[in-house]
Symmetry: C2
Subunit: 323 residues, 2 copies
Amino acid sequence: MNEPSSLAPVGVVGLGLMGSSIVAALLVAGHPVRAIAPIAQEAPVAPERIAGQLRQCRDAGLIGSVQPYLDGLAISEDYAALAGCELVIECVIEKPEIKSTVYQKITNAVSAGCIIGSNTSAIPISELQKFVDIPARFLGIHWAEPAFMTRFLEITCGEQTDPVFAERVFGMAHRWGKEPTLLKKDIRGFITNRLMYAVYREIFHQIESGNASREDVDKAFRYDAGSWMTLMGIFRRMDYLGLKDFQTILPRIFSELGNSAEVPEIMQQMVREGARGVHNDRGIYPYEAGEGAQWDEAFARFNQKIHLLAAEYSAEKVKAYLQ
Amino acid sequence: MNEPSSLAPVGVVGLGLMGSSIVAALLVAGHPVRAIAPIAQEAPVAPERIAGQLRQCRDAGLIGSVQPYLDGLAISEDYAALAGCELVIECVIEKPEIKSTVYQKITNAVSAGCIIGSNTSAIPISELQKFVDIPARFLGIHWAEPAFMTRFLEITCGEQTDPVFAERVFGMAHRWGKEPTLLKKDIRGFITNRLMYAVYREIFHQIESGNASREDVDKAFRYDAGSWMTLMGIFRRMDYLGLKDFQTILPRIFSELGNSAEVPEIMQQMVREGARGVHNDRGIYPYEAGEGAQWDEAFARFNQKIHLLAAEYSAEKVKAYLQ
């Protein structure tokens, strides 16, 4: 990683869970961060949360000590603090009307050349872009939680985005320790979500057909797919399996897969019951009171380990090893 | 793990890559193994390959030393060596007529109470079962490579399987350090393959639509899905994400997913060109000569690490931690 505050300042608007996590990622990458808290009560809790995230980065060996990186953070409620930023990332609630107001405040504060990115995972970039003065500089910068740890970053162009800006963010992302993807077309759910929804559709199909339990599905993913996913991805895995049998097996199984576009009954039931998974200890699995919060902790610890493993097997390192 | 040769002897028929790997898994679990090599040239190379696999197990801390476990292995071309086994696992080539002959030889050698399992991933258990004398004792025991390292094991009943035998293997699998799934119905591709084929269908749909490159797809899986898969599986992940937004997003994206039952053009092309992926250095990705073999090594090293990580976050340990 880079020295603390050794790169140009970056702005972040929104200091919820995801916004804080993105701030931590940018601090670790060596940017000073000018963070705007549009929700007033987020400002006082954010520094301690971000400090905790930086401690996780330190424990994983990403940075030497926390304080010099934390010193690069300035939180404000005044958008004027964004002046001078070459990049501002918006991560506020997924409501177009709120995002629209935020974009107006950002563009009032920054120069015409400042790139504006949204962390949205739900609203098409081409739609949000319409709210932005000089829409060519607007694009999707979609992080995965925890943003300061995963190597994932999805950069998405809207219809009006100038690819030059996307390429610039793509280059920056490599300096942030990411292995970014760059989508030149704004498809719903981008790549990651769309691929996962194909999985969701089939797991619900299997559950509703009575062929498997939720535990069976999770074991199959944890212990089979999970054992090679971080090394190979999917296409590399197919090469690894030798390709030979796919020609005969693909059409047989494809024709038996679920094609439903309906919300699965189990999901409708969860919604009717107000289930919010680990957030309120009511979900697809049963939870005891407080168990959800502990899953957060378990994931934080796990993610440090898988991050180190992923870094050890990054595309460059595997390539270097193979040579 | 158990002491070497502290459990009852188990038979394995077929000493190809997968068969050897299953032998290693059973030796590490504490079974003496009586292995039959129906292909004569497999017998001389198998011991060194299995010794290498046991060394991997030692390096991963699964066993203390290799030799006492290797001493439990007896390789023969004579099926009579299977007499006395309570379980025989067949892992020969995926051709029903060959498997049929193998089952006849196995049943001639073993007692009526001996369970016979097949490692098939391509042929329905109910079909193979028809070739077996006393079909109630026949079932699918599907391993993932490397069998001695992953915690995955899929046990599948055919139409005529007596569930008592499936439950018995299910119990044994826990002693082998697996987290097995037990499918009471024989569905094509079982669970794992079927779920992965849903992924394949959508990734080819995205590639053919020009929305993403193979590298984008692999990055999305390696760095997003890969960062939580081994901890959570899929349903737990949905709980973790909070369930709330799925109700609105599921039907939107489901309706845009690919539903093709055709073999994707890219796969047809691979087959026309005789591509066998890492096995002949020609695949979906370009390979230099010899690079394929190095992917084998990379996977072996990676798998030790992910195995340890998966063990650290096994269902029991996460549960204990959460309490």
